[in-house]
């Protein structure tokens, strides 16, 4: 059985984002990088399945991006993936989700993966499209926003998060692709022996140019920070006068008291 988990390295969301020189994406200076949180759930679920099914399973982790993404790949290997594919692309951020999905699909097409795991979406772009489009291009069944996962002899039982706190259960035959949501599991912290072992695991590097066949379907026009709206107002003083002030503000600036 062959498993694939696709991960993305994203900037930490606490970082200070600034537009890049072309103004179509963020500048990479002063950013701290980490594995996309939803992809950590995907890796964890894939590793759990691999551990459950034993040695006959091969779990590959894949990531597209410049050299820095190897850090995220190493973490996935330390968490328990068997080997890795790094699709070298210094300008991955300039590609739209369709192109990224097609690169993965072209790579995965003849590899015979039974199950593909991805995060629900990336924390930076947040398009939530790559997973489903990979499934579409490969002709796999797919299911998004998983909060529960079970696998038994070729059938995936997935619990999905729906609107309004409702959950749905989906059964799919493999080959299939699932995208993982918060609540699915708690990603493990790699143990030191596994970190040591992961240093010896194979990372295959492929050039994106060999896999890229699709034209972009969407273009990023501009990247900018939202205009600053007025900050919060902190009132201080005696309660009685505070009440008057609040009523005054509500009358002046809102329509609630009219």
């Amino acid at each position: 059985m062959k498993l694939l988990v696709c991960i993305k390295q994203v900037p930490d969301l606490e970082s200070r984002f600034k537009p890049d020189s072309e103004g179509v994406w963020y500048s990479e200076s002063d950013l701290a990088w980490r594995m996309n949180e939803y992809d950590e759930f995907a890796v964890e679920q894939a590793v759990q399945l691999r551990e459950k099914l034993g040695e006959t399973v091969e779990l590959t982790v894949l990531s597209i991006g410049p050299d820095r993404v190897v850090e995220a790949i190493k973490k996935a290997l330390a968490m328990g993936c068997d080997n890795a594919v790094h699709i070298q692309d210094p300008v991955a951020a300039a590609k739209d989700p369709w192109q990224i999905a097609s690169v993965i699909a072209v790579y995965a097409k003849d590899k015979g993966y039974d199950l593909i795991f991805t995060g629900m979406q990336s924390q930076d772009r947040g398009s939530a499209q790559v997973g489903v489009m990979v499934a579409e291009q490969l002709g796999y069944s797919s299911c998004t926003t998983l909060v529960g996962f079970e696998y038994d002899s070729g059938v995936v039982t997935a619990k999905r998060e729906l609107e309004g706190g409702i959950k749905g259960v989906v059964k799919m035959k493999t080959p299939a692709l699932v995208t993982c949501q918060l609540g699915l599991n708690v990603p493990r912290y790699p143990t030191l022996p596994n970190i040591m072992k992961s240093k010896k695991k194979e990372i295959i590097t492929l050039a994106v140019s060999d896999l890229l066949t699709a034209e972009p379907l969407a273009a990023t026009i501009s990247f900018y920070s939202p205009t600053k709206k007025g900050g919060g107002l902190v009132l201080e003083g005696e309660v009685a006068s505070l009440v008057d002030q609040v009523i005054g503000i509500l009358k002046e600036k809102t329509s609630v008291l009219r």
């Binding site: 606490e14 912290y189 143990t191 022996p193």
Partner: protein, 665 residues
């Protein structure tokens, strides 16, 4: 008539050979008892605790004979120390009698035990016996009548206390019987040099000579038998501490306090990290269990224990001993429990107060290493998040690393990246960099330095967490990653001295980073400011204020910096009211051992307990000099209902507000 006595009087010299045979037999039992312990100790890994022999012997001699560590705690300690010295004098006196009788008399034909010396000898021994008896009574009353909380009563206590009591009592009556039959008749003046014996002799007053002689002979054999019993009992009862606790004073580490073994991360042969079983411990860790006297001082001084958390340092040591003996292949971490292991604040109060030189903290740290490095475990999800924040952004808050030096904007600190030369590198640390309240410490420190004309450099966004909290949580791997990055960075600049405002950074940079190759001198700002004042580079304008002072664990107990902060505060015009638990007895704020990253979910809050101690002094101001302590006390004051009663401030803030505005600057 000359003052002396006939040794073996009424017993006869025929006793000498059987007496020695029996004595050697008793020593053989003693030796056999310890010999049998060897395989238990040897289950542990090798560790050198025999090098620097002279220094170790000196320390053992001082520790054992001064009893310094024992009477540090008055309750029980004074009784024990006085008993020890009394019993020691009796032992030496008895040895002297033995040497006189079996060496000096037959071989040299001289009598040391005569004349004025004998009078003094008699009096000293009698008083020593009296003191021993009184102290033993005190110990018996304490254990069985007063019964302090946590002091267990076990089989050994009955055996040991009764045995010692009987030895002393039979000794006095034996003396009394001899005096009734001899001294009182022949040399009554001499009898006054044995006042207790004289009192015991009254019992035999009026008895026939035969009865007295028979009583004497019987008592002699009983006394002798009990003494042999004492030696035999040493390895099998708590009396073993006479040898094991003394040995521990020899075996205690010679490294600076707080030294933790730095794991060689390059060594690929290591497959097991930390301690999960008895065989992962060192032999000394197992030996420690035999050196424990169950005095429970560690437990009494443990902030986790007294706030109802499932940790007793004494219990941990005992559990190691029991597992090593009964079930060596058992799971040590399960036995001790994860909750107990994570509760430790590494405050070192247990180890500092332990009269037996037991090393509690590193055992707990080694178990944490196993949990963290082998299991990927955390004491809570909030800790998992904080640790991952350190990995990504180099600080536990998860704040953007690029924002690390924003606090310093416009305050005149040089960011070293600029290439400018500086007098000192101020290693700011995460709390003073990112936490609003603690930024006041950093700002105050810059104010102090600028008034003293010191040019301060900071690493800015290049600085990372020193790694202390994660190291104390057992994550040696992450610690070494951030430490190496900091070290390489610091080495790349021309730095002559590093100053920290955080005692945790200070301990880590000054001691732990040495193992990883940082050799630049590191100082905590409390000693640095102290020397600035002494050199008259910094002038303070004293202004009276009342305060109480909290010794942070990593400054006081770990680094012996106790007086300098107090002297600075005195120079600033402060009048101190000490808390009961101060200096080496200080009570942790709860944030050590990586607990700063964890929520305190079990028991009551340590910070509130400490805030209560501070308010009990009546002082309106609590001064600390550690960002962790400040954070915990700000919290403890709010949740413990001390708002309006107590304010907590850092030493740097106090100093910065009292800088003299001199004419020449």
């Amino acid at each position: 008539m000359e003052a002396t006595r006939e040794i073996y009087w009424n017993i006869g010299h025929g006793v000498v050979i059987p007496m020695y045979i029996l004595a050697f037999a008793a020593f053989a039992v003693l030796a056999w008892g310890f010999w049998q312990r060897l395989p238990v100790w040897r289950q542990g890994k090798a560790l050198d605790r025999f090098s620097s022999y002279d220094e170790r012997v000196m320390r053992m001699t001082r520790d054992v004979f001064s009893q310094e560590k024992i009477f540090r705690v008055t309750a029980g300690g004074v009784f024990h120390s006085l008993f020890f010295w009394g019993f020691l004098i009796l032992f030496v006196g008895t040895m002297l009698v033995m040497i006189q009788a079996d060496l000096f008399t037959p071989l040299l034909h001289i009598n040391l035990l005569s004349g004025e010396f004998y009078k003094g000898f008699s009096l000293v021994l009698d008083l020593a016996g009296l003191i021993s008896l009184a102290m033993l009574t005190g110990l018996i009353i304490r254990r069985f009548v007063i019964r302090p909380k946590g002091l267990e009563i076990v089989r050994d206590d009955y055996i040991v206390l009764q045995l010692l009591f009987a030895i002393l009592l039979t000794g006095f009556f034996l003396e009394g019987a001899r005096m009734a039959a001899t001294e009182l008749r022949q040399n009554p003046g001499l009898a006054y040099f044995s006042p207790v014996g004289l009192l015991a002799a009254q019992v035999f007053d009026g008895m026939s000579q035969d009865v007295v002689l028979l009583s004497h002979k019987t008592l002699w054999w009983i006394h002798f038998g009990l003494v042999l019993g004492f030696f035999c009992a040493i390895p099998y009862t708590k009396l073993r501490h006479i040898l094991t606790t003394s040995a521990n004073a020899f075996l205690a580490p010679l490294e600076p306090k707080g030294t933790i073994a730095t794991i060689d991360m390059e060594d690929e042969r290591i497959e097991q990290f930390g301690v999960a079983a008895i065989s992962d411990l060192t032999w000394k860790d197992i030996f420690d269990a035999d050196a424990c006297t169950s005095c429970k001082r560690c437990q009494d001084s443990c902030p986790a224990h007294v706030t109802d958390k499932p940790l007793s340092p004494m219990k941990v040591i005992k559990q190691i001993g029991e597992l090593a003996e009964d079930n060596p292949s058992g799971n040590l971490i399960e036995t001790v429990s994860q909750d107990a292991i994570w509760s430790c604040t590494t405050c070192r109060a247990c180890q500092d107060i332990c009269p037996a030189n037991i090393e509690h903290v590193n055992k707990i740290l080694e178990m944490r290493r196993n949990l963290t490095l082998m299991e990927g475990a955390f004491p809570g999800d909030e800790v998992r998040t904080a640790v991952s924040n350190i990995e990504v952004n180099g600080n536990p808050f998860g704040m953007a690393y690029a924002a690390r030096s924003e606090w310093s904007e416009g305050l005149g600190a040089t960011i070293l990246e600029s290439g400018e030369e500086v007098d000192i590198l101020y290693f700011v640390g995460c709390y003073a960099s990112f936490d609003k309240r603690n930024q006041q410490i950093a700002k105050s420190f810059l104010t102090i330095c600028s008034s003293a004309g010191i040019k301060v450099g900071i690493l800015g966004k290049e600085e990372k967490c020193c790694g202390e909290p994660v190291r104390k949580l057992g994550n040696e791997y992450l610690y070494q990653i951030v430490a190496q990055e900091n070290i390489e960075l610091i080495k790349a600049y021309n730095i002559k001295k590093i100053v920290t405002t955080c005692p945790h950074c200070f301990n880590t940079l000054a001691r732990d980073y040495k193992d990883l190759g940082l050799e630049i001198p590191v100082e905590h700002y409390s000693t640095y400011v102290c020397s600035l004042i002494a050199d008259e580079r910094l002038k303070l304008e004293p202004e009276p204020f009342d305060f109480t002072y909290h010794d942070s664990c990593y400054l006081g107990r770990y680094m012996d910096i106790i007086e300098q902060p107090r002297s600075i505060l005195k120079a600033a015009g402060g009048l101190i009211t000490e808390m009961d638990k101060s200096r080496y007895d200080s009570f942790c704020c709860s944030a050590g051992g990586g607990r700063i990253l964890a929520e305190e979910k079990v028991g009551s809050k340590i910070s509130e307990a400490r805030v209560k101690m501070a308010t009990d002094t009546g002082a309106p101001l609590l001064i600390s000099n550690c960002p962790f302590c400040l954070t915990m006390f700000e919290d403890g004051i709010k949740t413990g209902g001390a708002e309006g009663v107590l304010v907590v401030r850092d030493l740097a803030e106090i100093v910065a507000e009292r800088i003299a505005v001199s004419a020449d600057r």
